[in-house]
């Protein structure tokens, strides 16, 4: 995973945006192919499309949303 600072954006209450990655390796070491310039990685843990964000965080109460 490429983690140059300008390529990562933490979105308060939402996902992590990653720009320009070929692949993304999740917390369990599984590698996922990336097919778009910018991807949103789930941070709330409730996405139905893990590891990607599917905006489920929008339906969570404020205290369940990531900082």
């Amino acid at each position: 995973m490429t983690t140059l600072p300008e390529r990562v954006l933490v979105c308060p209450g939402g996902p992590l945006l990653l720009r320009g990655c070929q692949t993304y390796t999740d917390g369990e070491g599984v590698e996922h192919a990336v097919d778009r310039t910018v991807v949103a990685v789930c941070r709330c843990g409730f996405s139905g499309r893990l590891p990607w964000c599917d905006s489920t965080h929008k339906r969570l109460p404020p205290d369940k949303r990531p900082d």
Partner: protein, 309 residues
């Protein structure tokens, strides 16, 4: 008025008159249809109208008259919003996420029939067959940071260089799979005022550089309110056993718009507000207008289906 305008456009656009008559006498659907026709000249136009009509002064004068009337009505609906420079992005996201307008997607999820979904697709086709085009006009009006971010978002909307992934094309393929016409605006005549107006709003915001803030605010609200409803539409379309192409179209938007909404709010709108503070309130105005137009669309179609909204 729209009939008269189209006839004049076909023969001699220079003879269009600016004054469409007393506003009291002009039917609002007719006025919206006329503006839609005039806007269309700035997209791909009409086979039987000369491309010169786009820049004909008489055409621009009438377009301006109708656009001013539309913008005045939109501004009259806007209650205003206090803008903070420090928390702009989070405030804008919260403002949009707090929208509780009626949801067509929730109804499609559990109740709609296949015929109702086909009607929804036909009404939506006025926008989706040229998805993202109105926002593209805003690109050269922006400063560096929001311009780079909008280009990045649009690159994804336009398929990242792959024609088969262009969103408007995905929608056309889905319509084809559903047995519908993919010729642009073939279903315009069955669309109500709410559809004409929501398309006119996007074109107005895109075409007029003065309204760049509203254009980007509208885009942000559209993207922020797309992913969750798209997920509900996927489930509804699966329930009805509809064509894979239309399911894929909405499934693509579940993931894509979970990226686009953050780009639109944090990298486009917040950067635009920082670079041009006088655009900040118009960003909220554009976001409000998108939500307001979507709510009116939802009430129109749910009302037609006999559902309380």
């Amino acid at each position: 008025m729209s009939e008269r305008v189209l006839t004049t456009l076909r023969s001699d656009p220079g003879r269009l008159t600016t004054d469409p008559g007393d506003p009291q006498d002009v039917d609002e659907v007719d006025a919206a249809l006329t503006l839609w026709v005039l806007h269309e000249l700035s997209y791909r136009g009409f086979e039987d109208v000369s491309p010169d009509a786009e820049w004909e002064p008489a055409v621009l004068a009438l377009r301006r008259h109708l656009q001013r009337d539309l913008e005045a009505r939109l501004r009259a609906r806007w209650p205003g919003h206090e803008v903070s420079r420090e928390t702009f992005a989070d405030d804008l996201m919260a403002f949009i996420e707090s929208d509780d307008g009626p949801s067509v997607a929730s109804y499609v999820h559990s109740h709609a029939s296949a015929d109702q979904v086909l009607e929804l697709v036909r009404w939506r086709s006025i926008y989706h067959l040229r998805e993202s085009d109105p926002s593209t006009w805003t690109l050269p009006r922006l400063t560096t940071a929001p311009k780079a971010a909008l280009a990045e978002l649009q690159y994804d909307e336009y398929g990242s260089g792959r024609p088969d992934r262009l969103h408007a094309h995905l929608f056309a393929r889905a319509m084809e799979a559903l047995g519908l016409s993919t010729r642009y605006a073939d279903y315009l005549d069955e669309c109500p005022l709410e559809v004409l107006e929501m398309n006119n709003v996007m074109t107005l915001f895109g075409l007029d550089g003065r309204l760049r803030g509203a254009s980007m605010g509208h885009l942000a609200a559209f993207e922020v309110t797309s992913s969750v409803p798209s997920g509900r539409l996927v489930k509804g379309l699966q329930r009805l056993g509809m064509a894979e192409e239309i399911i894929d179209y909405y499934a693509e938007h579940v993931v894509a718009d979970s990226v686009h909404d953050q780009i639109a709010v944090r990298l486009i709108c917040a950067a635009l507000a920082a670079d041009e503070p006088d655009q900040a309130e118009d960003i909220f105005f554009g976001a409000f207008t998108c939500l307001d137009q979507e709510a009116r669309f939802a009430r129109a179609i749910l009302g037609r289906w006999g559902v309380a909204a």
